[in-house]
C-alpha cells in the first residue's frame, strides 16, 4: 500500500492556542477517520490538508509531491463540508457540475458525468431542484458527489453526517463505505462520533488537544488503547489508578490504594515492556469483560473484587450494573441477558456481589 497522503510535523496555532501540535500520519488507499472531541484539532488538520488554512510549520505531501503552499483550487483534493455548503443559487445539476466547469471540460462530458454520479446516489430525478428543496440526506449526497466527480486523489469529509437523524445517518454511513469501494479514492473522515468511526473506517487516528494520541484499526484501538484517553474516548471503560508492584512473566501486579485485592494485568501492546516497579499506571477494564456473581468465584487467572449493586439498568439485550467497590470506586458492568436461568436474574439492588475478569483482559496504560 503506497502512501497517497503524508502529513509531516504539521503545526498550527490560533493566537496562543495550539490547535494542531506536530501531527504526523500517512494515508494509503483506505477509509481513514479522525476521531476526537471538539477542539481536538481534527477539523484544523483537515482544513490544512484542503488548503483552507495555512500551517505554521510542517509539510503536506500528495503522492510525494509537496502541496503545502498550494492554494485549495490547485490541489487535487476535494472536501465535503460540514453543513454541505451547497451553492444556494444553483440547482443540483449546476452544483455538481461546478468543479468540472472549472476544468473547462466540454458540456457533453459534463452532462454525462453529472448524470452518472446523480444516478450513483439515486438522485437522477432531482437534477433541477434547488438546494433548499432537498432533504438533509439528499443535500449530503449532492455535496458528496459534487466533490467526488472531480476524481480527487483524496476526499476530505468534515463531520458530513453530523446534522442528520440517526436512521439516515446509519444508512448513509453504509452508502459511504460502498461508494468508496466503487470509486477507489482515499477518504479522510472527521468525526466526534466513535460509532461512526468504528463502523466505517479502516483506520482511525484519535486526536486530543491538537495531538494524535493513537492511530490504528478499530479493533486494535478498542482492544489495545495506548492511553486512558483513547480507552475512554472509544467505548466505555473502568479505570483504576495504581502503582506497579511486581512482574511475573508478561504480567504485572498493580497495587491500588485502598484495595486489598491485587490486580494482575497485561500492558497494552502499544506500551509493552515499558513498566518498571514503582511506575504509576492506569488499569483499564472494559465493562463487558467483567462477570458479576453473588457467590465468591474461585478461579485461576482472574482478578476478583467485591462490592454492592448501586444501580441496575435493564436495556433489553443486556443489563448494566453500577457496582460500588469497597474502596468507593464505581464500576460499570455490562451483562448479556442470554439465558433465562442465568445467575444475573437473581441480582437485586443493594446485593453484595463479586466482580471478576481475566488477567489478560486487564489493560495497563501509562498515564
Amino acid at each position: 500500500m503506497s502512501d497517497v497522503l503524508a502529513i509531516r510535523n504539521l503545526s498550527k496555532s490560533f493566537g496562543k492556542v495550539k490547535a494542531v501540535d506536530n501531527v504526523n500520519f500517512t494515508i494509503g488507499d483506505e477509509f481513514f477517520a479522525f476521531l476526537g472531541p471538539s477542539g481536538s484539532g481534527k477539523t484544523t488538520t483537515l482544513r490544512m490538508t484542503a488548503g483552507l488554512e495555512v500551517p505554521d510549520s510542517g509539510s503536506i505531501l500528495l503522492e510525494d509531491e509537496d502541496i503545502t503552499n498550494l492554494p485549495p483550487e490547485k490541489r487535487n483534493i476535494n472536501t465535503v463540508f460540514q453543513n454541505y455548503a451547497l451553492f444556494p443559487h444553483m440547482n443540483v445539476f449546476e452544483n455538481v457540475a461546478f468543479g468540472l466547469k472549472r476544468k473547462k471540460i466540454d458540456n457533453r462530458t459534463i452532462n454525462k458525468e453529472v448524470s452518472k454520479f446523480l444516478e450513483m446516489v439515486g438522485l437522477s430525478d432531482k437534477a433541477k431542484r434547488m438546494p433548499r428543496q432537498l432533504s438533509g440526506g439528499e443535500k449530503q449526497r449532492i455535496a458528496l458527489i459534487r466533490a467526488l466527480i472531480n476524481k480527487p486523489k483524496v476526499l476530505l469529509l468534515d463531520e458530513p453526517l453530523g446534522a442528520l437523524d440517526l436512521k439516515i445517518r446509519q444508512k448513509l454511513a453504509i452508502d459511504l463505505v460502498n461508494i468508496r469501494e466503487q470509486v477507489n479514492i482515499s477518504f479522510v473522515y472527521v468525526t466526534h462520533d466513535q460509532t461512526e468511526a468504528l463502523t466505517m473506517a479502516d483506520r482511525i487516528a484519535v486526536m486530543d488537544k491538537g495531538r494524535v494520541i493513537q492511530i490504528g484499526e478499530p479493533k486494535e484501538l478498542y482492544e489495545n488503547p495506548n492511553s486512558s484517553f483513547a480507552a475512554n474516548f472509544i467505548g466505555n471503560t473502568n479505570i483504576l489508578k495504581g502503582t506497579v508492584a511486581e512482574k511475573k512473566g508478561d504480567y504485572y501486579r498493580v497495587d491500588i490504594p485502598g484495595f486489598t485485592s491485587r490486580v494482575w494485568g497485561l500492558p497494552t501492546s502499544t506500551c509493552s515492556g515499558a513498566f518498571q516497579t514503582g511506575n504509576e499506571v492506569d488499569v483499564s477494564i472494559r465493562p463487558e469483560k467483567i462477570s458479576i456473581t453473588k457467590k465468591n468465584p474461585v478461579s485461576e487467572n482472574q482478578n476478583v473484587f467485591s462490592g454492592r449493586v448501586e444501580e441496575m439498568i435493564y436495556v433489553g439485550p443486556s443489563t448494566e450494573f453500577l457496582v460500588k467497590l469497597n474502596n468507593g470506586y464505581m464500576f460499570r458492568v455490562f451483562a448479556q441477558n442470554i439465558s433465562p436461568d442465568s445467575e444475573i436474574w437473581n441480582i437485586k439492588w443493594d446485593d453484595d456481589v463479586y466482580l471478576y475478569w481475566r488477567f489478560d483482559k486487564t489493560l495497563l496504560l501509562s498515564e
Binding site: A50, G51, L52, P71, P72, E73, K74, I77, N78, T79, F81, Q82, N83, A85, L86, F87, P88, H89, N91, F98, G99, R102, K103, M130, R146, A147, N150
Partner: protein, 286 residues
C-alpha cells in the same frame, strides 16, 4: 375549544383591523379613486364623472409628453445604473472586506440623507452654480477662464442629485446580502477549483442579486415620482413626469389628466419590476 378559537379570532381582528380599515380608507380608496378619475372627462378646473379615454389619448398623442416620459425613464434608469456602479464597490467593501467599523460607516452614510430633503437639493444647486465652489475652484487652478455652471439645469445634474439621495439605499442591501454569504460556500468553491475572479462571478455576485433587487424596488418607484429635484436643479425645461403631474394638480388644474399620468407612472414601474425579476433570474432565489 370553540370559545378559545373565538377569542383568538377576536385578538387577530384587534391587531389587523385598525390598519386594514385605515389604509383602505386613506390609501386604497384614494388610489382607486385616482385610477377611476383618470377615465373621467376633465379640463381646466373641471371634472365630470363621464367615462372617456381622452386623458390617456392626450398623453400618448402628444410628442412633448412622450419625450418627457422617455426623459424620465432615461434619468431613472441612468441613475439606477450609476447607483449600482458607484454603490456596489462600497457595499462590497463593507460586506466583505472590512471587519470592523462597517456599521459606523453605514451610519455615516444614512444620517445625512434621512433629513432636509429639499435643502440638500438646494445645496447642490449652490455647489453647481456659477459662483459655486466647483466653478470657483476650477477658475482658481486655471482650468476655467471665467466662472461657469457645472452641469446645472441638465439631466446630469438631476442624476447627480438622485445618486446623492439614494446611494445609501444601494449600499445597505448589497452589504447585507454580501455579509449573509456563508464562508463555507466560498471555501467550497475554492475547493472545487475556482479562482478569485470565478468565485466573484459565479458565487458572490449572483448571491448579491437579491440585495440589488431590494434596492431597485426601494429606489426606482420613488425616483419615478420625483419632481422637486428636476424643479430645483433641472432648470426651466421639464424633464420628468412628476413635474407634469404636479403642474396638472397645482397649476393647470386638469386633475383627470394628472391622474392619468399617475396611472401611467404606476403601470410603468410595475412593468419594469416584473421585467427585472424575469431578466435577473430572481425567482430562483425567492
Amino acid at each position: 375549544m370553540k370559545t378559545k378559537s373565538l377569542k383568538t379570532h377576536a385578538a387577530l381582528m384587534m391587531n389587523i383591523m385598525p390598519s386594514f380599515v385605515y389604509l383602505l380608507l386613506l390609501f386604497y380608496v384614494p388610489m382607486v379613486l385616482m385610477m377611476v378619475i383618470s377615465f373621467w372627462k376633465s379640463g381646466f378646473m373641471m371634472l365630470e364623472p363621464v367615462f372617456t379615454l381622452d386623458n390617456y389619448r392626450n398623453f400618448f398623442h402628444n410628442s412633448q409628453y412622450l419625450q418627457i416620459l422617455r426623459d424620465t425613464l432615461v434619468i431613472t434608469t441612468g441613475s439606477m445604473f450609476m447607483l449600482f456602479v458607484i454603490g456596489y464597490p462600497i457595499g462590497y467593501f463593507l460586506g466583505r472586506v472590512v471587519k470592523k467599523y462597517d456599521s459606523l460607516i453605514l451610519f455615516l452614510m444614512i444620517v445625512p440623507v434621512e433629513i432636509g430633503f429639499l435643502v440638500r437639493i438646494y445645496a447642490w444647486k449652490i455647489i453647481l452654480s456659477k459662483t459655486g465652489i466647483i466653478s470657483s475652484f476650477l477658475v482658481y487652478i486655471g482650468v476655467f477662464k471665467e466662472p461657469a455652471r457645472i452641469f446645472l439645469y441638465s439631466k446630469a445634474a438631476i442624476i447627480l442629485v438622485l445618486i446623492h439621495e439614494w446611494l445609501p439605499y444601494v449600499v445597505i442591501p448589497v452589504t447585507i446580502a454580501l455579509k449573509g454569504i456563508e464562508p463555507a460556500t466560498l471555501e467550497a468553491a475554492r475547493d472545487l477549483g475556482a479562482d478569485r475572479f470565478t468565485i466573484f462571478r459565479e458565487i458572490i455576485f449572483p448571491l448579491s442579486i437579491p440585495g440589488l433587487f431590494a434596492s431597485f424596488v426601494l429606489i426606482f418607484i420613488p425616483m419615478l415620482g420625483e419632481f422637486a429635484i428636476p424643479t430645483i436643479v433641472g432648470g426651466s425645461s421639464t424633464y420628468m413626469l412628476g413635474n407634469v403631474i404636479n403642474n396638472q394638480f397645482m397649476a393647470a388644474g386638469n386633475w383627470g389628466f394628472g391622474s392619468a399620468i399617475g396611472v401611467i407612472l404606476l403601470f410603468a414601474s410595475t412593468l419594469l419590476i416584473g421585467l427585472v425579476i424575469k431578466v435577473s433570474g430572481l425567482e430562483k432565489l425567492l
